[in-house]
């Protein structure tokens, strides 16, 4: 079943075309990753999907009664706004203490319920954001560069958690990222965006597509090279371990 579909969507901000003629759909249970350089319209695409912007041309269709769990790129909380983790989970829909506790437990941050949101570390903050997004039992989980500011083990752990969530809850996942090496492994489908859709398909297909290589470079600059680099890096760690 198709959850959200964009047909011939174009978006203009003050005369500048951000998206042109984008056709996009996401089905139940799919993991779709949108990659693209800065300013390629990745966040605009997501904002179209959640309904925060209306396309200048084209249509956006959402399944009736669609529940979206949204993890924003950045959530600035004004220091004048007191907000505990527990209270944050009840926004906008109040949840019971037991549900909140279970959600935090699952996210691995059970001890943080009474902490102020502004006192969390980057990784804890992202986990709480994810826990809140999952409370509405979403059909579609949307992550906008959700691992920005996390170190590599942190973001790897975060993505493992996303995969686990998809398996347990069966929700579709739509994410935007530039951390191609981690994301690509988990995705069913990758969309390479640069104002328009350059190419799309399985991770392997996109990584070898000329359009993708034109955007992200080839050889050592490419995503596959980055992926290999990851491997050597972790081996290095193992080697260093006993010596240190």
């Amino acid at each position: 079943m198709t959850l959200v579909s964009l047909t011939g969507v174009s978006l203009k901000y003050g005369g500048r075309t951000v998206l042109s003629n984008v056709d996009f759909a996401i089905k139940q249970g799919e993991i779709v990753t949108v990659v693209g350089p800065n300013g390629s319209g990745k966040s605009s695409l997501l904002r179209n999907v959640i309904g925060a912007v209306k396309p200048s041309v084209g249509t956006v269709t959402r399944m009736a009664g669609l529940r979206i769990g949204y993890v924003p790129q950045k959530l600035h909380i004004d220091p004048t706004l007191p907000l505990t983790v527990r209270r944050f989970l009840s926004l906008p829909v109040r949840v019971s203490d037991s549900v909140a506790h279970a959600a935090l437990e699952q996210a691995g941050v059970a001890a943080l319920a009474d902490r102020q949101m502004t006192n969390l570390s980057g990784g804890q903050f992202q986990r709480v954001l994810l826990a809140r997004a999952l409370l509405c039992k979403p059909h579609l989980l949307i992550l906008d560069e959700a691992t920005q500011g996390l170190d590599q083990p942190g973001s790897a752990a975060f993505y493992r958690q996303i995969e686990q969530v998809r398996q347990e809850m069966g929700c579709a996942v739509l994410m935007v990222s530039h951390e191609l090496h981690v994301v690509m492994a988990a995705s069913d489908r990758v969309i390479c965006l640069n104002g328009h859709i350059c190419c799309e398909g399985t991770p392997e297909l996109v990584a070898s597509a000329p359009e993708y290589r034109a955007l992200f470079g080839t050889g050592t600059q490419g995503a596959l090279a980055l992926y290999r680099h990851e491997h050597t890096h972790s081996h290095d760690h193992l080697d260093e371990g006993p010596a240190a």
Binding site: I68, Y70, P82, L91, R94
Partner: protein, 275 residues
């Protein structure tokens, strides 16, 4: 209604009504950094007073309409190339100046301008009291009804969109509530000090609150306390009542900041001793 025949009781009830409505609204004003927005809306209301007197309609109605018009203008114009503080600086003071000029044309009505600039809480009548409490109750009801949606929109507009909440509609609701509170407050503290009644209790409450709801409740308590103590002080010391109430609230803020500072200091020290 013999109790309400005492002008001090009426003044206290008027002030308490305002304090209760201003507290939760003031929290949103603080969280959304709308302090000057409140100011602009309040300053525009003097123009509303002039228009109401010129056309012989109720001052409450006139103020409500101009405050609403001002708030809507600011909302619409924001994000169109001017920095928000520049825009508000222009609009707020233009409205105030225009209002004062307009008032000077009203030769045929003798109005005490001071009573609108600084409030005239001791002259609150039965009718005023009814208007103030109706306005305050309506504002509170509106805020309670929209609380969760307002809070989500305040936190992050996209988060609201994803949950099916329209943040622009919530902004409009806040604007409406602000206009009502300004219209209610004009008799109590006057045009120039309305923003203080919104912001000072909320800012005081921040020091002791760990959730948004608690902040609103503490702000309400601080507001009510300021009204009662302010009335008493002004009665004993023969000082202007509206400004005295605000002065007491400011005193609460200072004490709260000091206590908080002391607490943080101790907290920090005990942490150091731990390690």
């Amino acid at each position: 209604m013999t109790l309400l025949d005492d002008f001090l009781i009426r003044a206290a009830l008027a002030g308490i009504g305002l304090a209760l409505a201003a507290a939760p609204l003031g929290c949103f004003v603080v969280w959304r950094r709308m302090a000057y927005f409140g100011d602009a809306t309040a300053h525009a209301s003097i123009l509303g007073v002039a228009l109401a007197l010129a056309f012989d309609v109720s001052v409450f109605g006139g103020v409500l309409v101009t405050a609403l018009a001002m708030a809507t203008t600011v909302s619409t114009l924001s994000g169109r190339g001017y920095a928000m503080d520049t825009l508000l600086g222009v609009l707020a003071h233009t409205a105030l100046a225009l209002g004062l000029v307009a008032v000077s044309f009203l030769h045929w009505v003798r109005i005490d301008l001071m009573s609108y600039l600084f409030g005239d809480i001791l002259a609150v009548g039965h009718m005023d009291l009814a208007v103030i409490w109706s306005g305050a109750t309506a504002t509170l009801a509106l805020l309670v009804w929209r609380w969760s949606a307002l809070l989500t929109s305040t936190l992050n507009p996209d988060l609201a969109h994803a949950a099916g909440i329209d943040p622009r509609r919530e902004q409009l609701i806040l604007t409406l509530a602000l206009a009502v509170v300004v219209a209610v407050a004009i008799k109590v503290v006057g045009v120039l000090l309305i923003a203080a009644m919104l912001i000072v209790p909320a800012a005081t409450a921040r020091a002791f609150a760990n959730t948004p709801e608690r902040m609103a409740l503490i702000a309400a308590a601080v507001g009510v306390l300021s009204v009662i103590v302010g009335l008493r002080v002004s009665f004993v010391g023969d000082t202007p009542t509206g400004p005295t109430i605000v002065t007491v609230a400011a005193g609460c803020f200072m004490v709260a900041s000091l206590i908080r500072g002391l607490f943080d200091h101790r907290h920090l020290r005990s942490h150091k001793e731990d390690s």
